[in-house]
Subunit: 454 residues, 2 copies
């Protein structure tokens, strides 16, 4: 057994004790009464780095601080940037927790506490793996740079500003984040694709004030009627989005990707039970995983107009509005789609209705090429840590920092998920499997080794 493996084996209890110490700090970034706790968590992370003799900086922001650390440079091998966050979601509702959220408690091999998976436990695997290298061999096989933020649950303003202004400092060859999930229990995953987004808000107005629908109905266009007609025509019966040119740049799924998705043990029945639906549907011609991960969508996120009280009021409303957004897939350009939607609206808005379209924000989808040496390295490392190779999955949401790293640093991110999708992140009774915590540390330790050969 190598000194590294020996260290990992001997320190399992220590790692878990450190995790529990970290989880005891109620670093709720959204709650200003916890501002000192949030700072305490940042200091706890910084102390971890200092104990390994890494160059460590506490970087103040307008919000909560960033913790930066770097290990010594290693010539001719990749520089690896590790991202994570030390802040946690609020624990409410407190009365639904079996054990208190900031008193980590082990049951059935899981540690229960707020932040167990998201992201303290997962992030800590990448610190403990460095500790194992430094303490067992005195050095790391690659240069590691850590950037650990405390505002992930409240919008990541500080890190985005820092990334904008200090890209040089974070210069690297590849980034690593563990803030996602395995595909299923015992199936560690590399998430290689994320969808992008364009988010809009549409305001329609007609008469200058609400009118009596009896006296005036039939005389003027009703803005709510117009809104349903416009939005109702944006997705056809086959689930195809009707914004002109919407699919022009869509990166199509390859046959091998489709085969790979189809090979995953996705249980539609239990997924439906979880959501409380009797049917899964969407764009025709694609499987549920394909639709969630690799096909664009259009969802209305909110709609309002007219009388919202009880009973019947015969009003012809003066105004109506809706928020709606598209999830984008790689090669779709948010700006192009926003422009096309705007043109379509100008042509389609009924006469007599004034429209205003707000483009809230946009971000492109990303995929990490699966044929890179970094992905191959991560695959080997995960096989070492978990005893089986990862599956390759995508995710329907966005992780904006991944786009930030791509745009500002020019690097791809390895999204290595040690969590499970029933870990109750953002809910009561958040948990993390301690076995997966140890496997994650081992996979991470081997990752540094494997990446050194890239």
């Amino acid at each position: 057994m190598s000194p590294l493996d020996d260290y990992l084996k001997q320190h399992r209890d220590h790692f878990e004790q450190d995790l529990c110490d970290f989880l005891r700090i109620p670093s709720v970034s959204a709650d200003s009464s916890h501002v000192q706790d949030v700072h305490a968590a940042a200091n706890w992370v910084a102390d971890q780095f200092r104990s390994l003799d890494l160059h460590t900086e506490m970087i103040e922001t307008e919000g909560h601080p960033l913790v930066y650390a770097e290990s010594p440079a290693v010539p001719d091998v990749p520089v690896v940037l590790v991202y994570g966050h030390y802040d946690v979601q609020p624990p409410d509702p407190l009365d639904e927790w079996t054990s208190p959220p900031f008193e980590p408690t082990v049951r059935d091999g899981n540690v229960y506490a707020r932040g167990a998976t998201d992201d303290k436990g997962q992030m800590l695997t990448h610190i403990k793996s460095a500790q194992a290298w430094m303490k067992s061999t005195g050095s790391l096989p690659v240069q590691l740079k850590y950037i650990i933020e405390g505002e992930e649950e409240v919008g990541s303003t500080g890190i985005n500003t820092y990334l904008e202004n200090h890209a040089d400092k974070l210069k690297c060859n590849v980034a690593v984040i563990s803030d996602t999930s395995q595909f299923a229990r015992g199936m560690p995953a590399i998430t290689y694709g994320l969808r992008g987004i364009v988010y809009f808000e549409l305001f329609l107005s007609g008469p200058k004030q609400d009118l009596h629908s009896g006296s005036f109905g039939g005389a003027v266009m009703n803005p709510v009627n117009a809104l349903t007609r416009l939005l109702g025509s944006l997705v056809d019966d086959d689930g195809r989005i009707q914004i002109p040119g919407f699919y022009d740049d869509v990166q199509t799924l390859t046959d091998s990707e489709r085969e790979q998705f189809a090979g995953l043990p996705f249980k539609e029945k239990s997924f439906m039970d979880k959501l409380g639906v009797e049917l899964l549907n969407g764009e025709h011609g694609y499987s549920t995983l394909e639709r969630r991960w690799a096909r664009p969508t259009l969802d209305i996120n909110g709609i309002s107009g007219g009388y919202a009280g009880e009973g019947a009021k015969t009003v012809l409303p003066a105004r109506a509005s809706a928020k709606f957004s598209c999830r984008l897939v790689p090669d779709q350009d948010p700006e192009t789609i926003a422009a096309s939607l705007r043109s379509w609206l100008e042509e389609s808005c009924p006469p007599g209705i004034q429209s205003e379209l707000i483009y809230h924000h946009g971000a492109p989808g990303v995929v990490v090429p699966l044929d890179s040496s970094y992905v191959a390295a991560a695959t080997r490392a995960i096989e070492k840590g978990f005893g089986r190779p990862p599956v390759f999955i995508r995710e329907g949401g966005s992780i904006p920092i991944v786009t930030g790293f791509k745009d500002k640093l020019g690097v791809d991110t390895l999204l290595l998920g040690w969590g499970l999708d029933d870990d109750n992140t953002h809910s009561p009774n958040e948990k993390f499997s301690l076995a997966d915590f140890q496997r994650g540390i081992k996979a991470s330790a081997y990752l540094w080794k494997e990446l050194s050969g890239c």
Copy 2:
């Protein structure tokens, strides 16, 4: 000059003084702090009848009382039922009144006060006309029955219950209501048609709770998307309603009616200015007056679903709902249309979406035949009172008591409008032209005479 004409001429000032006395009573039916004032107004009306030696009853209801009165039977001539209401809308916002709402003030030939037109002033014309007959000749040419309510502004529960249970008492040959408007200044009108209504509320639900639109968008049907698709398809680009069979029973406009509407001096430009729109539109192939008065419509009255706060939230909502209603024209049956809508919904609701349709209420449209001897009598009476014959108009809204009289008493209603559409009913600075008040009394006095010949 006949004794009747002489009486009308001699008592103009008295009539106006009585009107002002009536208007000073703040009989706001919606405001429980005014309950004594509402009773005072009922008593004031009852005293008017008593002073004419009419048989008078104060009929208690669960809400505000009804005032009933009847003059002696007159053999072989029609019995005429007069309806009106002594309650008024709340006067708010008070600071927008030039003179206080319950201190009647004359400016430029108009009396300004809450209730001036709606309906104290108009209703009083039918009492003062009886007074003129009784005081100048000692009798009336027809038997009059009055039913004057105090809940018209709050739902008319009392009179509807009374009508349900005591139709015998209100037995008559024709009803008369003055609670509408002239078509324009100096153009008294007989409103011979009202639209009906069917009012629905639709609830759609999908997943059991709101979902993240990134992780789940594309997997399940979004209830707000479904709602816009359903409602957006209910009216086509030509403004035609797509509920199956919706137009089957529509009473079509006759050429002579269309010519008559077209002959009215309806000013589209000033109508648009009043509504604050740049364009009037609706069902293709019909004029604005035709669309408002004699064609059915479908208006969404309110819609809601998903996130309604500020900014962008990426939610796939669990639920959505809308209130919507159709204005109906004569011969359309509300129940048939409700059933057709329900069938259409069952066929059209997308898979994966649960729907619930509430049918709030319905009432058919009505038209009074223009070729009746009652309309001819009213026409001659109005010409006597106003110096010119009335125009014949319809109204887009509903006056439910008209349907009640038709259903329970089997009689048509003569809707004789002395008000103007700029009288600010339900708004600050409500007014009524005193000249029209006097003309209305004279027209009413001649109406009793003319009806006696029917």
